[in-house]
């Protein structure tokens, strides 16, 4: 190294340099050119003992105090909103219910409370059948004594199990079961309406033509009650009976549940057909609920997609959605006898229904059709908690690691 270069590299370090550096996170050298192999540093012994990495290219010092960072909640804006639908009608509203219930109205995905509070909580309708149907033992135990009396069953569902609504499934109208006439079946509906004062859902048998004639009759005898007719389908359209049902719902002041099988284009198509007769706030959607383990992920994803699309502005999907959560019991794990390590079945069954419900609760479902009392209670408890943000107590879990269980 020549004398000239030597002089150039003869840097003088301030003795206080180290003190200055103590609180630094990072040191950046400005206007410094370093040619490797051509550099020599001189430190005067005893004056300063800065470590070589101070000058080596970007060196970092470990932070000694907590570095502050900010947090801004990632709030998004949505052009769309879910239509609010009123279920049931009170005397003043032209019906006979003790109160009506609003669902829908969401302006952000399910329980994104940090964006906007949910206007209406999700609700639960308990299933009641008009004829004997095979039920898993875990459920039958809870309804055994009322299974032959739909009105008493409905009463039990409301008074004992806290149902927000009741669904009377007129299964016996199925031409392959008892082929009960629409007139006779509608009498059962009237009995249920008298037994309870909550809003109700009326379920058919799944045969498009029979359901159409049934719903027309039910619509007529329950004039003004704003019942939910469950369900209308594209099959009804194909059978040429959809318009009659939609018209009956409109003329007598009811709601229809538009059922499609895990396909959003079909859901849109069915809704478009219904819009010819019904205002938007008279339509609910059921996009199909498959049981946990038997396709729940398809239901989860279809409900999630529908809700996001609706919020992003798709006008044909902006309806509150319903889940037939009782389908959870189609999973054999919910009812089957398994090895001792999977017992008791009395818990395995209802947790199956609960997990099915809660997964869809987070995907956006507004109205659940359910059966097992423990599952119903849990969904109610969870809903209550989810509606109530800001209750977390960090102290309670701060030392969970050492807690004795």
């Amino acid at each position: 190294m020549g004398a000239k270069e030597e002089k150039r590299a003869d840097l003088k370090f301030d003795p206080k340099l180290l003190d200055f550096l103590t609180d630094s996170e990072e040191i950046e050298l400005e206007d410094v050119e370093i040619e490797l192999g051509d550099l020599e540093l001189w430190f005067q012994p005893g004056v300063v003992s800065a470590p070589p990495r101070v000058v080596a290219p970007p060196a970092k010092l470990k932070p000694t105090t907590l570095l502050e960072a900010d947090f801004i909640p990632p709030i998004e804006k949505y052009p769309g909103r879910i239509t609010e639908v009123k279920l049931g009608a009170t005397k003043g509203e032209g019906g006979s219910r003790g109160k009506s219930i609003l669902i829908g109205g969401a302006t952000s995905p399910a329980f994104y409370t940090f964006e906007s509070p949910r206007p209406n909580p999700p609700i639960i309708s308990l299933d009641v059948f008009d004829t004997e149907v095979p039920l898993p033992k875990a459920i039958r135990t809870h309804v055994q004594e009322v299974m032959e009396d739909p009105a008493a069953w409905a009463k039990l569902a409301v008074e004992k199990y806290g149902a927000d609504m009741v669904t009377i499934h007129l299964v016996s109208t199925d031409p392959l079961i008892k082929d009960t006439s629409p007139l006779d079946a509608s009498k059962t509906v009237e009995q249920v309406l008298q037994a309870v004062d909550v809003p109700i859902i009326v379920g058919g048998c799944g045969d498009p033509k029979k359901d159409a004639s049934l719903f027309k009759k039910v619509a007529e005898v329950t004039e003004g009650e704003r019942v939910v007719l469950s369900s209308v389908t594209l099959d009804m359209a194909e059978a040429g009976v959809l318009n009659d049902v939609a018209k009956a719902a409109k003329d007598h002041g009811h709601i229809v549940l538009a059922f499609t099988a895990l396909e959003l284009n079909q859901a849109r198509e069915l809704n478009r057909r219904l819009y010819e007769f019904l205002p938007k706030d008279r339509v609910l959607m059921d996009l199909t609920t498959a049981a946990l383990g038997y396709g729940l992920e398809y239901s989860f994803t279809i409900f999630e997609r529908a809700r996001l699309a609706a919020l992003m502005g798709d006008p044909e999907l902006q309806h509150p959605v319903l889940s037939g959560t009782t389908n959870a019991w189609a999973a054999r794990e919910a009812w089957m006898k398994m090895g001792p390590e999977w017992e008791p079945r009395e818990l395995r069954g209802p947790i199956w229904e609960t997990v099915t419900a809660l997964s869809l609760l987070l995907a956006g479902v507004d109205l659940f059709m359910m059966m097992h009392p423990a599952a119903v209670r849990t969904v109610k408890d969870v809903t209550k908690q989810l509606m109530n943000r800001g209750t977390a107590q960090p102290k309670k879990i701060a030392d969970w690691v050492t807690a004795k269980i």
Partner: protein, 476 residues
């Protein structure tokens, strides 16, 4: 610290973007026919860039780095454990499953404590290892052991961690907020790369040192305080700790809304805002259902079970749990399996005629749909019944029996057509068709259209063995 620019969404990333960075020599060393095919697979996350040998050479160093950046997930993937038993967590590309697919199913760690009697400790570890359920032809299992120090004594913790490490190869999570205790534990298993739980606002410096010294991933715990979570993440990254996991606190019952909102905000910040400080795997602790409240064991286990399922839905990448009960874990393991399946892959199996065992002209003929879950369930039940038989798999577009009947995808016409196409008339000399119990309503019409006698089988295929015993051969 500057935040990463919001990257091209995983959906917008085109194979061309990736292709342009590949060597483009079509050398086929990766096993693909050309670089474009490899690029497509990269975009679909079916291969990793390390599978392109030339890319790893010095001359492609820059392209490798750029590709790595381009393909980096919004949530960092970190590895817990080593070798064959290592588990990758995080690595999420998207917020919603339907946007692409979720990767790295949420591992469930079961806790033990350093104050458990040895017998109980080893028994628990063994139970975790042996926990297994066969679900649609696949085994579902529990994944890790979390060792908690309730003693707060370094040597007690150390000896427990050693015992656990000897008893199992499963990856470990070490839980204590005391750095001295933690160090004793980490030292015992430093080759195993355990997850350290956890750094807090009080102990972060010492925990960061341990993570660095022993090269372990580190959890940050900031209950209900995302600002603190970010501050700690920023500090840890500056400290040089790169593999982090984040625990915003799991409040069950009271505070559940905060739990769900916090997890959601953290994940959205990572996926939609490109927030690097929050772009790490999330740790959920349903085990907190067990603390601070007097209630029957079943009630607490019940809460832990449903909270876990909600956290699987809402973005937890690791779960720490207490209950080992089958009824608690089964719904969660199944839900995890389900939600991590690839929504882009078809869910149907091939339709047509399947033979089981060695069927002959007198063997039963059954019918089901081509929904994968339906098919695999029926298949498993036929196999376990040991029956020799034919199974006609009807193409219902991958929909189950019940739904396809409701949706008119399985009709008598469709069934008749399937019977004909299967050519089963030439294989058996009887004319009896067994249809699923859930398809009972099709029986009359199917008889009319096929000319076959229809026997209505069980509603659930677990009843096949019993059904055949009772009804086959047909009595008339």
């Amino acid at each position: 610290m500057s935040e990463r620019e919001i990257k091209k969404g995983v959906k917008e990333l085109s194979p061309i973007d990736v292709y342009m960075l590949l060597p483009r020599t079509n050398c086929k060393e990766c096993g693909e026919t050309n670089c474009m095919a490899f690029a497509t697979k990269l975009v679909n996350r079916e291969v990793t860039i390390e599978e392109c040998p030339p890319l790893l050479e010095k001359m492609h160093e820059k392209a490798y780095k750029n590709l790595k950046e381009l393909l980096a997930p919004a949530v960092k993937e970190i590895t817990i454990g080593t070798g064959d038993s290592a588990i990758k967590v995080g690595g999420k590309l998207v917020m919603y499953r339907h946007e692409f697919a979720y990767h790295n199913p949420t591992p469930i760690a079961i806790e033990v404590t350093d104050e458990m009697p040895e017998e109980q400790l080893l028994d628990r570890v063994k139970k975790v290892e042996n926990f297994s359920y066969e679900y649609i032809g696949r085994e579902v299992n529990l994944d890790m052991i979390a060792v908690r120090s309730t003693s707060n004594d370094p040597s007690t913790f150390k000896s427990t961690v050693e015992k656990v490490a000897q008893a199992t190869k499963l990856p470990l999570v070490l839980c204590t907020f005391d750095p001295n205790v933690m160090e004793a534990g980490v030292v015992a298993v430093q080759q195993r790369r355990p997850l350290i739980y956890a750094a807090t606002k009080d102990n972060w410096k010492d925990m960061a040192e341990l993570a660095l010294m022993y090269n372990c991933p580190l959890t940050i715990f900031a209950p209900n305080d995302i600002k603190l979570l970010r501050s700690l993440a920023k500090t840890m990254i500056d400290y040089g700790v790169e593999d982090l996991a984040l625990d915003p606190g799991t409040f069950i019952d009271e505070g559940l809304a905060d739990t769900i909102n916090n997890f959601t905000m953290v994940r959205r910040s990572a996926c939609r805002r490109g927030d690097e400080l929050l772009g790490f795997p999330l740790v959920g602790t349903p085990i907190t259902a067990w603390i601070g409240e007097e209630a029957p064991k079943e009630v607490l286990a019940w809460r832990e079970a449903y909270a876990a399922s909600m956290l699987i839905s809402r973005y937890a990448d690791i779960l720490l749990m207490h209950s080992l009960d089958g009824w608690v874990q089964l719904p969660n393991l199944v839900w995890r399996f389900n939600i991590y399946t690839d929504p882009r892959k078809p869910v149907s199996v091939e339709s047509g005629l399947k033979a089981f065992g060695e069927p002959d002209e007198n063997s039963p003929v059954m019918l089901t749909t081509n929904y994968a879950l339906t098919y695999f369930t029926v298949e498993a039940d036929i196999k376990s019944s040991g029956a020799d038989c034919y199974l006609i798999v009807v193409d219902t577009g991958g929909i189950s029996v019940e739904s396809s009947i409701a949706g008119r995808l399985l009709t008598a016409e469709k069934a008749a057509e399937a019977v004909k196409e299967a050519g089963v008339e030439q294989k058996v000399k009887h004319r009896y068709l067994i249809i699923p119990g859930l398809a009972a309503r099709l029986s009359g019409e199917t008889e009319d259209l096929t000319g076959w006698r229809v026997l209505v089988g069980p509603k659930d295929s677990s009843g096949i063995a019993g059904f055949l015993k009772e009804n086959w051969p047909p009595k008339e």
